[in-house]
């Protein structure tokens, strides 16, 4: 599995990683694991402006539909179109498979997100 260095995490089980002012957004291993086999991903539209907390994508497993919320505010500049034909990438490599890349307009929400060790304990508490 791809590494999680520098990632921050939401309570809704998204991850975000900032590189050169761009935010890569995906779902966590915990998320893919509780969803089960992912069979469909609805990607956001390019150029969409989103605020942190907005729905940017939907991820569907065989049984359930789950919204993906943006961890950060910005404009969608790229989507991972590989997920259209191979949604199972989110199961196989959740941290190597971003859903969208955002050009960050406001990074202030990052402070509210968890680092990896905080996220690990959050997941354990949830159970």
């Amino acid at each position: 599995m791809s590494n999680t260095t520098g990632m921050r995490f939401t309570k809704e089980h998204e991850w975000v990683k900032i590189e050169d002012g761009k935010a890569y957004v995906g779902i966590t291993d915990h998320a893919q694991n509780s969803l089960g086999n992912i069979v469909f991903v609805e990607l956001p539209e390019i150029d969409n402006d989103v605020c942190s907390g907005d729905t940017i994508a939907s991820v569907e497993s065989v049984k359930t539909v789950s919204d993906v919320y943006s961890p950060i505010s910005g404009k969608v500049i790229e989507v991972n179109s590989n997920l259209e034909n191979d949604p199972g990438l989110l199961n196989n490599d959740p941290y190597g498979s971003y859903i969208a890349i955002l050009e960050v307009s406001d990074a202030s929400n990052l402070e509210n997100l968890m680092d990896e060790s905080q996220y690990q304990s959050y997941c354990e508490e949830e159970h």
Binding site: G36, V39, F40, V62
Partner: protein
């Protein structure tokens, strides 16, 4: 929440447990897609002990059941299993049942788990003379073994020649693993296979022995998730989806299990009226053309007008397509329509069902 006698087994096997109609049941073990493929290509083992069983016996049993269900039991000989909807006077469905004819005056009725109490109350409410009903749900566990290797595996644990049990027939007192059981060639997957009813306290033993006997033949435990995708691909109805108190069996396309010509039964007048006036809704199958998965309850629309709703929609693991069943206005006759997914109209096309051909051994 209620637990089946196999609850600990499911947890030990890593089953992901969920609430299903008041029962805590495994939705999956290894993953729905993997489990689904095992049943289609090799074999799968299901704990369906949550299903209810009601014994109906006595001199009046036959006439009593004939009045409760829409199908005709008169041609059934002992050893036969009959599928039938059971209706309210208005033609809505109380439940769909499997009726095992044990003897002329004795029937073993299998009902949906979440409906057991409701069904038993309905049985009671409509009780007639010389009939004894007994809710024996807790005394029985039920295991289903399904898939092309099902017979070979089950045969390892019994001397009874399973070849002699034909499709929708059963045998009582089959000794499986030393346990006297009812064994029927039935199931809910579209594959060949068996359902085994046995005393609850013996369920753990049979579960373990079956998994052992089947390990070299691809047998794995299957959760409710794959049970649903398997039944959906062969368009077997699920109560609460294709059937309900507000959907008649005629609307659900189950007319072949409704014998309007037999003696009076509950719901008959309403169903005759529906037939005469023209059935208002019909069940259709469809494939998504646009990107998206239709889900239960989503609106079906045509040229902006609502024409019905999705009863079941899913990714089909065997066909690798997004498919669905929908209840729509009976006069709708176009090939294409839209499913409203997250406020967007996504195109779908009518396709015949069952989507996957059944592999029954008759």
């Amino acid at each position: 929440m209620k637990k089946t006698p196999l609850y600990e087994k499911h947890c030990a096997l890593g089953g992901q447990m969920i609430d299903f109609g008041g029962w805590i049941m495994p939705v999956q073990y290894s993953g729905i897609l993997d489990e689904h493929e095992h049943v289609r290509n090799e074999a799968g083992l299901f704990d369906v002990s949550h299903m209810g069983e009601i014994l109906v016996s006595g001199l009046g049993a036959f006439a009593y059941l004939q009045r409760l269900v829409t199908n005709d039991l008169s041609g059934a000989v002992p050893g036969r299993v009959v599928y039938s909807p059971m209706c309210y006077p208005d033609g809505g469905v109380v439940d769909d049942l499997l009726i095992y004819k044990m003897a002329e005056e004795s029937y073993f009725v299998v009902v949906n788990a979440a409906n057991t109490d409701k069904d038993f109350a309905w049985f009671k409410e409509n009780l007639t003379e010389n009939v004894i009903i007994d809710n024996v749900s807790e005394q029985y566990a039920q295991l289903a073994i399904q898939g092309p290797n099902a017979q070979t595996i089950l045969q390892k644990l019994t001397d009874f020649p399973l070849d002699q049990i034909r499709f929708y027939h059963f045998q009582s007192d089959v000794v499986v693993c030393g346990i006297p059981s009812i064994v029927s060639r039935t199931g809910y997957t579209g594959e060949d296979g068996f359902e085994v009813y046995l005393p609850s306290e013996k369920a753990g033993l049979l579960w373990d022995e079956l998994l052992k006997a089947g390990s070299s033949l691809g047998l794995v435990p299957i959760g409710l998730g794959a049970r649903d995708t398997l039944r959906f691909e062969v368009a077997l109805p699920l109560y609460g989806h294709e059937l309900s108190a507000t959907i008649s069996p005629l609307e659900a396309g189950l007319g072949r299990f409704v014998k309007l010509g037999k003696d009076d039964f509950i719901g008959r007048d309403a169903l005759i009226r529906q037939n005469e006036a023209g059935i208002k809704r019909k069940l259709i199958g469809f494939e998504m053309i646009g990107r998206g998965i239709a889900r239960n309850g989503y609106t079906v629309s045509h040229e902006g007008k609502e024409i019905g709703y999705v009863t079941t929609g899913s990714y089909s693991p065997s066909l690798k397509k997004n498919l669905g069943l929908a209840l729509v206005d009976a006069d709708f006759s176009e090939d294409k329509f839209d499913i409203i997914i997250r406020d967007k109209a996504v195109e779908a096309e009518v396709t015949p069902y069952p989507f996957y051909s059944k592999k029954y051994k008759k």
